[in-house]
């Protein structure tokens, strides 16, 4: 009995030893596992733990402003007051929204969205109820805060263009980032683009200088818990605000040009003939870029795209027009450079015969025997038919290209078009036809195939005015270099290789146009000799006018608007020391001298006055329109509001 019990004791003890040994081994594996996790892999898990708890939040930098040449803002950031609701701070989000709807309108579908979002997202997350509150709405929400549990007001930034539609084609607009903006950027994508609600430049200088205006995003490192609630901020990097962009545009001149062009469908540019600074770039009709930032309604978008006067198109750089008689300056220069002397006379009987065809002069009774300056002054078609017939259009095309026609000028705006300066090779390539002798005639007076943008005509006038230097236009006074702006340095423009004698003849002709009786722009002349301008008018047919119609002499105002001639005008001033050049095209405006001349004259006067005193008032300039809709006061300052002074305060 005792023996057996001892056996049993021995057995249990032996087995207990084995069992204990097994358990010790297993406990040892736990220590091994601890060593693996907490020593060998510690750094990996430390990183993962930080990734868990540290959330990097991007802080959008304030976008750089866009200023005119005198520092007056053309694009600014405005405070965007938004109402948000936080579900966990209210007992019933429906009740809160009911109370709030008495102050700001909440549409039914918005209400449904807010409640849906509030349910889906964590209870501490805020849901947007309404943005772009007016100052009045904002104040009413603030005052009623005690009755609006869970409601809070948040100030964001939104882009605002105080000029409304008066600078849209220069400035462009900003809008939400689209898929295509992100494409092709690969891993270099600016993280800011991923920020919900972030806006980037989509047109105009907003687009061209976007990288500099955008700035560099700051970051805020916050500690979050497992459900994403922010516990505290660990560190903060404010980033770099966007740089202010200074344009060469003179805001008042720009507004004046827009005002004068009014309802016309027109494009106008004015530039400094030496520096290339573009002071005015006006295209009408225009659109309000604020609407793009806000988000267009379908209706607004339809209106913009179906309007026959095409407000979305910047006609200054993307409108291509037959330059008409303004192109005669090129024909005359080519003739002079080919050895024709300015006193060479041509007899104009009112028409010109070539082969079996007859080309009309605009003055059917003819100019009689006429020399070059007078042919420019009175814009005799026959004279230039003859010149082109003599030298061939190839030479004219070659000269025209030196004045900047036929290629995009490289202005710092997107969407510029190159126009057309035709020659034999071009015609064969694009139309598959040989060059006919008649082509020499049509194109010599800026009809036929020749097309140019108002900006190109301005540039042409500028290069004539500055004595034949290859000036190039620019809007911004800074250059963009990566995401920085550097001041633009003065450039020594290359000589385009036209003899001063030839240019002097053109100068003389253009001076006569706007200063001698019977000159086509005599009526629009500048009477002060110190400011006097030289000009060339043009009117270009937009459709073929038959011989019969010529004979019927239909009254101009009986022709439908769409079929009327385009009115063109180029000028520079002052004659003594040219400084400003201007180019205008008024679609279907009939006559350059009358439709565009007075606008050009007044702008040139104003520009010359303001060159002396940048603050010189422009007679007849309408005051700035107040920005509609949002009318924020300067800064909400609690101290100045008697209702908000805390008790016991001063």
């Amino acid at each position: 009995m005792i023996h057996r019990e001892a056996d049993g004791t021995k057995l249990i003890s032996r087995r207990a030893l084995l069992l204990g040994g097994g358990q010790a081994l297993l406990l040892a594996t736990l220590v091994g596992r601890m060593y693996y996790l907490q020593v060998m892999e510690a750094s990996k898990y430390a990183v993962l733990a930080d990734q868990n708890r540290i959330n990097l939040r991007l802080l959008p930098p304030p976008r750089g402003r866009i200023l005119d040449r005198n520092g007056i803002p053309m694009a600014v950031n405005q405070q965007n007051y938004r109402v948000l609701v936080v579900a966990e701070q209210t007992d019933d989000i429906g009740d809160t929204l009911d109370a709030l709807s008495g102050i700001v309108p909440i549409a039914d579908h918005d209400r449904a969205r807010i409640i849906r979002e509030a349910e889906r997202r964590p209870s501490f997350a805020s849901v947007l109820v309404h943005e772009n509150l007016t100052w009045e709405e904002m104040s009413r929400v603030e005052i009623n805060t005690p009755d609006l549990p869970g409601v809070m007001i948040d100030v964001g930034q939104t882009r605002n263009y105080p000029l409304n539609d008066l600078g849209a084609h220069i400035l462009g607009y900003v809008s939400a980032v689209s898929e295509s903006d992100l494409q092709g950027q690969g891993s270099n994508t600016d993280p800011l683009l991923e920020l919900p609600g972030f806006r980037i430049g989509k047109a105009g200088v907003e687009k061209v200088y976007d990288m500099a205006l955008r700035g560099k995003g700051g970051t805020s490192q916050v500690e979050v818990n497992a459900v994403g609630r922010v516990i505290r901020e660990l560190s903060r990097d404010e980033g770099q605000p966007g740089a202010d962009l200074k344009l060469a545009i003179d805001l008042d001149l720009q507004r004046y040009a827009m005002q004068r062009l009014g309802d016309n469908s027109a494009g106008l540019a004015m530039m400094d003939v030496h520096t290339g600074e573009v002071l005015v770039l006006a295209a009408t009709p225009s659109y309000d870029p604020n609407a793009f930032n806000r988000g267009l309604t379908t209706e607004e978008w339809k209106d913009l795209t179906t309007n026959p006067r095409q407000p979305l198109i910047d006609k200054v750089i993307a409108g291509q027009y037959a330059p008409g008689s303004t192109f005669k300056t090129m024909t005359a220069l080519a003739a002079l450079e080919s050895g024709v002397t300015p006193d060479t006379k041509v007899f104009c009987p009112g028409h010109y015969n070539l082969g079996n065809n007859t080309w009309m002069c605009w003055k059917h009774t003819g100019h009689g025997a006429i020399d070059m300056p007078n042919a420019i002054k009175m814009s005799c078609d026959v004279y230039f038919y003859e010149m082109s017939h003599r030298i061939g259009f190839e030479r004219i095309a070659e000269v025209a290209k030196r004045f900047g026609l036929g290629t995009a000028t490289g202005l710092d705006l997107p969407g510029e078009r190159p126009g057309i300066i035709p020659n034999k090779a071009w015609k064969r390539a694009s139309l598959g036809q040989p060059w006919f002798p008649g082509d020499n005639l049509n194109n010599a007076i800026g009809q036929g195939f020749v097309l140019a943008t108002p900006l190109q005509l301005t540039l042409m006038a500028a290069r004539i005015a500055n004595g034949g230097y290859a000036v190039l236009p620019h809007l911004a006074q800074q250059r963009i270099d990566g995401n920085k702006l550097t001041p633009r340095k003065a450039t020594d423009w290359p000589d385009i290789g036209i003899s001063p004698q030839s240019l002097a003849v053109i100068h003389r002709g253009m001076e006569m146009v706007a200063n001698e009786p019977h000159g086509t722009a005599y009526e629009a002349r500048i009477k002060d000799p110190a400011m006097a301008m030289a000009a060339k008018t043009g009117s270009a047919q937009v459709r073929h006018v038959s011989q019969r119609e010529h004979e019927m002499k239909i009254k101009e105002d009986q022709i439908p608007w769409k079929e009327r001639d385009n009115a063109l005008f180029i000028a520079y001033a002052p004659i003594s020391a040219p400084r400003f050049a201007i180019g205008i095209c008024v679609e279907h405006g009939m006559h350059g001298g009358s439709a565009a001349g007075p606008v050009g004259r007044d702008l040139l006067i104003a520009a010359q006055m303001r060159a002396v005193d940048p603050k010189a008032p422009i007679p007849g300039l309408a005051p700035m329109q107040p920005v509609d809709g949002v009318a924020p006061p300067p800064q909400p300052n609690n101290d100045s509001d008697p209702d908000l002074i805390p008790e016991g305060g001063a």
């Binding site: 056996d7 049993g8 249990i12 069992l19 204990g20 406990l27 736990l30 601890m34 020593v39 708890r53």
Partner: protein, 384 residues
């Protein structure tokens, strides 16, 4: 003269004071130390507050220690006498849970007796050991060599294990089977029998697998490898490993665990409390705690083996093994070594039933130690 002392003990006629004198106070101290670590960890889990966990856990500990000492005072023969009855009551309660239990966390585990919520599966962990120890008491190697002799103890294990598995509570079922197996082993069941059972089980796996549906297979695969489902069940274990790993050698400091305090760590006051402890105290803290546990286990073995009766030894070793299983499964689970099965960290995890069960079990070990020389006959206390 040795006989006189022996007879005093042998008769079981010790006075209460004497029994108290014989309590292994070093064992109690080790237990209290581990519980103390538990209070600190719960205090940290509540972001530096004794509410709501630490204070209640302390209260339960106080009650539990009283229960433990009370259990230790009771004569081991009484425990032996009542072992089958206690087992029966636990089994009835388990069935009761199956019928009326309220669902908590998707598993039927609790039974509400009106004044206390009971987890019968926890009670079963003790009573099954009692019943098996009772059954194997007095068995000879010849007995344990007969397969027929093993049918009843097999049922004693498989019945409650099956019920618990149905709840479903994988962790407890696993613990019951492993503790039962340990008792079989200690009782002297031949090793080849274990080999046969394990081999048969292994052979059955591919057959069963073949008959399972795809979604069932998927469920088992996810259970075995939670990291294949990082957004679902894998999330917890991943976060737990991150917490442990980022704790490093020396930890992030008391109350400074980011994973636990920012709520990335799930169930930080219950099943994953070891993770929080080791995140804040590092591997040093983890190994220290593990060492205390190891000491308790060694003490458990030593105290049990001092007992002269087979019943006492088997019960003590069985309960110590149960305690070991708690420790091992929980820590292995939070470190991603075994699937997450819902076993608390003994004496530390917040929870009343486990604390009481464990201290009750320690009380039994102490009882076996105090009454180590009480002789019990081969056929049970009545005859002895």
């Amino acid at each position: 003269m040795a006989g006189s002392i022996r007879s005093r003990f042998g008769s079981g006629e010790m006075r209460l004071g004497e029994k108290f004198w014989h309590v292994s106070w070093s064992f109690v101290l080790l237990i209290a130390l581990v519980c103390g670590i538990g209070f600190l960890t719960l205090y940290s889990a509540a972001n530096g507050s004794i509410e709501p966990w630490a204070i209640r856990q302390m209260f339960r500990f106080a009650v539990g220690v009283a229960v433990m000492l009370g259990v230790a005072m009771v004569d081991i023969r009484a425990w032996m006498r009542w072992s089958y009855v206690l087992y029966g009551v636990a089994l009835v309660l388990l069935v009761g849970v199956q019928l009326h239990g309220s669902s908590s966390l998707g598993a039927q585990r609790w039974i509400d007796l009106g004044f206390i919520q009971l987890q019968p599966s926890e009670i079963m962990k003790i009573t099954m050991v009692l019943a098996l120890a009772r059954y194997f008491h007095g068995s000879t190697p010849q007995d344990t060599g007969r397969p027929l002799f093993l049918i009843i103890p097999l049922l004693l294990v498989l019945l409650p294990a099956g019920l618990v598995l149905k709840q479903p509570d994988m962790g407890t079922a696993m613990m019951l089977v492993l503790a039962g197996g340990a008792l079989f082993f200690l009782a002297g069941v031949r090793t080849w029998m274990f080999a046969v059972v394990i081999a048969l089980g292994g052979a059955a796996v591919p057959v069963v697998w073949k008959f399972m549906r795809d979604y069932q297979k998927q469920r088992i695969l996810t259970f075995l490898d939670p990291e294949s489902d990082p957004l679902g069940s894998g999330y917890h274990i991943m976060q737990s490993k991150i917490a442990l790993g980022s704790g490093g050698l020396f930890g992030k400091g008391f109350m400074l665990g980011t994973q636990s305090h920012l709520n990335f760590l799930p169930e930080k006051q219950t099943d994953f409390i070891f993770t929080q402890m080791a995140e804040e105290w590092g591997m040093v803290g983890g190994v220290a705690l593990l060492s205390l546990y190891t000491l308790i286990i060694i003490w458990g073995y030593a105290l049990s083996l001092r007992c002269r009766t087979q019943f006492g030894r088997l019960m003590g070793l069985g309960l110590t093994t149960t305690f070991f299983l708690y420790v091992f499964i929980n820590i292995a689970m939070v470190m991603g070594l075994v699937p997450v099965v819902g076993v608390p960290l003994p004496l530390i995890s917040y929870g009343g039933t486990a604390m009481l069960t464990l201290l009750f079990g320690f009380g039994l070990i102490l009882s076996a130690y105090i009454h180590r020389d009480v002789p019990i006959g081969r056929h049970g206390p009545e005859i002895g």
